[in-house]
Symmetry: C2
Subunit: 236 residues, 2 copies
């Protein structure tokens, strides 16, 4: 039976199966060995995620089935919206963000003790891109800033360390890319194809660190290359 990898997060997870998306690329990478299960909820912060996590995970792994091999928890981009600007209703203060992340990870680990729960920090923000995306908002101020996103990224890493969980610091990693503002982000927040590939590489590395790779996860049936043309049926 194939293992599962669950992607739990906000819009950057929800849209991860669009063209060039990191979720689809992960599913393609593991096309013969893993079922990638999408649980992305556009606009959600950790407060809302915590309210729905039980319903979101319903049916991912029915009673008696093998628990997921891994789950990514990728929230913070909405929590980090500034409280006094147009997305203020999505804002969650850092102490509550941390306590919500702790509760989300604890919920998943209690439900599925063997599952690798992996945190992903919010991505960096290109404020110029956010301003250009702000139709109807004439304040001239971005609703998210890179500085705020960075504080949430640090807070996320600290929860991961406290809980002993792997974490991907996509906020820092992405900012190492030349011209990351435009090459990785299409609207100052959501990923371009290149941004998606930066995250995908990190997810694959981190999964491999946890023993989950094409070397360790067998194909679910014989690969074409292993089938003997002179007697194909003996392979099955």
């Amino acid at each position: 039976m194939r293992p599962k990898i669950v992607l739990f997060g906000d819009s950057i997870t929800e849209e991860s199966f669009m063209e060039g998306g990191w979720g689809a690329a992960l599913a393609h990478h593991f096309s013969r060995s893993v079922d990638v299960v999408l649980r992305g909820y556009s606009g959600y912060n950790t407060r809302w995620a915590l309210t729905v996590v039980e319903r979101a995970m319903e049916g991912v792994c029915p009673a008696g089935a093998v628990p997921p091999a891994a789950a990514t928890v990728f929230f913070g981009a909405n929590d980090a919206s500034l409280p006094d600007r147009r997305s203020g209703f999505q804002h969650v203060p850092i102490p509550e963000y941390q306590s919500n992340l702790r509760a989300l990870c604890t919920y998943l680990k209690e439900r599925w003790p063997s599952t690798v729960v992996m945190l992903i920090t919010p991505p960096p923000i290109d404020e110029d891109g956010r301003l250009k995306d702000a139709s109807g908002d004439n304040s001239g101020l971005p609703e998210r800033t890179n500085e705020s996103a960075g504080a949430y990224a640090k807070a996320c890493i600290s929860v991961a360390e406290e809980l002993g969980l792997p974490v991907i610091d996509v906020w820092s990693k992405m900012q190492q890319v030349p011209n990351w503002e435009k090459s990785c982000l299409r609207d100052g927040l959501h990923f371009t194809s290149h941004g998606n590939s930066v995250l995908l590489d990190e997810v694959l590395k981190k999964l491999a660190d946890e023993g989950l790779s094409l070397d360790t996860l067998p194909p679910d049936l014989p690969l074409f290359s292993s089938i003997d043309p002179s007697d194909p049926l003996k392979s099955f």
Copy 2:
């Protein structure tokens, strides 16, 4: 609990989550309402598929879980390989292809009576593209022809009619596209982005005909657009 759509087929299914792929696009289209489950097996014909179908479907829907809403059965491109050319060991004669398709569909319908089982014919073949792809084969003859693929497509449609199942005639549909040989097929057999979109459109139409669309399949939790900014938590 989200419904599932299972994609069962050969390489054109296995690679359907690569960039621009029809499987990933289907998963994106239904990102909040359906789990798309990939069961693509590169190189497989219906004879091999029939040998493994029980193992392939293991874990898709554990006992007690809701059966899949739909399953695509997309084989024939390998069965239609000509028997006396380099891919001859993948060839399956038409009468056996039909009897295997019947058995595959019957297996799925017996396992999951409520599931919409949908057949997809093999795609057309661009023989020039196959010749250019034939490294190491100096025969000058393509291992698949469009005429043969067309005969398998007709045979597939006839099985669907006999069993009363929906069928997508991608062999005919794709040949309505100007310059289909190069615009839809990248190596004479596998799909370009445009070829993928041709199939995706047909799959979405056929699913809608069977009552499976964004209008009928609800999002699994409140959409961001339905959340009241003045009191977000009351939505959950």
